[in-house]
Amino acid sequence: MRELICISCPQGCRLTAEISGDSWLITGNRCPRGEAYAKQELTDPRRVVTAVMPTDDPAHPFIAVRTDAPCPKAMIPGLLNKLYRTVVKTPVKNGDFVIKNIDNSEISVIVTENI
């Protein structure tokens, strides 16, 4: 039996997962997203990454960005390194891609503000 806390919304439900072979019994979740979270977290934990990247505009030297989907935890340090070293060419607007399909993961990085 594994215990974990769902982080999909501010309720923070305390979940327990009983795994026997291929069958999963998840309890404690107050909505179906908790079950999906537990399965994901116990097999392939992922997080949305947010960061600031340097830009080529001296008036706005940094821009906020995020991944467009949760990113496998093991990929995060390498991704952050890349983000801090890449200069974003302006102008850009909310939702524009800065890095597409990182290492063929189908996850991309988008900007979250207009510059």
């Binding site: 806390i5 309720q11 340097p54 940094f62 906020a64 935890k73």
Partner: protein
């Protein structure tokens, strides 16, 4: 600024000001939203992490994304903006309307006239002085929000290794931000027996990085000559004094304080609105009107919210009430409401019995099962069962019209 006379002037273009402004403008009221910053969105702009909008937009957004959507809504509705403009004074005139003094770099001092005013100035961080930690005064001590702004808006790293004092959400979010920026986080130290932030933030910002959280522990000293060198902390005895025999040291060059927020009330004080000592904000009735008729308040300047979604909902409702006020609607007979056992505060402080009211509470206890009771003349006249009660999470309770006929005290009973 095109004109100087408005139906509504809103002080602050954060989530609260934008939400209320949208509703007022949609109803056809001439609306001006004033902010001292050069961009709309308020505190959201420095909160580049995700976790905003699940309830309001049914989507998980970052702070700047939430701010952008709210700003667009207000613009489309026809609200006007005056940015880089600080409101320095508001006076009520004899006819009940308002004179608003605005200071901007471009226009100097201008005066606006409005029939109603909305206070949406947000809150500021308690600083270290407010909790007075002994020790030298070396460089490297910041409030968590200041460090957040440095890092997220100016790209500046505050130091190399940090201790965070206080486990509020800003402190937790900053623990992860520091780690993701290559800065070591040695510990988070919390004086209470439970975290002051949301559980999800403890998980994704501390557990994910194996950062220790010391509960019921107090920082007794910060040492360092020019720069911070170490923090000395001690667990609390049962009488809540530090047990110095068990004191321990943590080496670090940076200390972030995340010890709470206080409503930005200067302007409200000048207007003479009645304050609520339990929230640090104004007293309001169920129409979000302060004790000065025509002055409304919502968002973090009214009480500190953990979720922007609730700020937006509350301010939208306040916006509707401003529109009602401008067309001369009457609220009807009002009763008072107060916070009793296990509750820090109840909002609103007065309510109209003939209307359904949404009450908001801040609990003081951690419990998994509780019942919220409305007591009138010593008798419980309304009850609601609650699961997972935490001081970090606001309690919301809708009470139907014609349920409470008298002054009410709310109590939270642990089951």
């Amino acid at each position: 600024m095109v004109r100087l006379d408005y139906d509504v002037v809103i002080a602050g273009a954060g989530a609260a000001g934008l939400a209320a402004g949208t509703v007022c403008a949609q109803a056809g009221c001439s609306t001006l939203i004033v902010d001292r910053e050069g961009r709309t969105g308020g505190i959201l702009n420095q909160c580049i992490h995700n976790g905003f909008g699940l309830r309001y937009f049914k989507e998980e957004l970052t702070g700047p994304e939430f701010a952008y959507r709210m700003s667009e809504k207000a613009r489309h509705a026809g609200a006007e903006f005056a940015l880089n403009s600080a409101i320095t004074d508001i006076k009520q005139l004899e006819d009940g309307t308002f004179d608003i003094r605005v200071l901007s770099g471009k226009d100097g001092v201008t005066h606006l006239h409005a029939r109603a005013v909305m206070l949406a100035m947000g809150c500021r961080e308690r600083n270290r002085g407010a909790i007075a930690t002994p020790g030298e005064r070396p460089a490297g001590v910041f409030t968590a929000g200041t460090a957040q702004k440095l890092l997220n808006c100016e790209g500046k790293l505050p130091g190399k290794s940090a201790v965070i004092v206080g486990s509020g959400d800003i402190g937790l979010i900053m623990a992860r931000r520091l780690r993701w920026s290559g800065i070591e986080v040695k510990a988070v130290i919390e004086i209470m027996p439970h975290s002051a932030g949301l559980t999800r933030n403890v998980v994704q910002c501390l557990h994910d990085f194996d950062i220790p959280l010391y509960l019921s522990t107090s920082v007794i000293r910060i040492d360092g000559k020019e720069r911070v060198e170490k923090v000395v902390a001690a667990p609390l005895n049962s009488d809540r004094t530090p047990d110095t025999s068990r004191a321990f040291e943590i080496e670090c060059d940076t200390v972030l304080f995340s010890v709470g927020l206080i409503p930005e009330m200067e302007l409200a004080r000048k207007l003479g609105v009645k304050e609520n000592p339990a929230t640090g904000g104004a007293e309001v009735n169920s129409a979000y009107s302060t004790s000065v008729p025509g002055v409304f308040s919502a968002g973090n300047v009214l009480h500190v919210h953990d979720l922007v979604d609730f700020v937006a909902e509350e301010a939208e409702y306040a916006g509707k009430c401003i529109v009602d006020y401008l067309v001369g609607a009457k609220t009807g007979k009002e009763f008072s409401s107060a916070a009793g056992k296990n509750l820090k505060y109840a909002i609103p402080n007065r309510f109209a019995a003939a209307k359904a009211t949404r009450f908001l509470f801040r609990p003081t206890v951690v419990t998994d099962r509780a019942v919220l009771k409305a007591m009138v003349d010593g008798k419980s006249v309304w009850e609601k069962k609650l699961a997972f009660v935490r001081p970090a999470e606001m309690i919301i309770a809708e009470v139907a019209a014609d349920t409470l006929h008298g002054d009410v005290t709310f109590e939270l009973e642990e089951l």
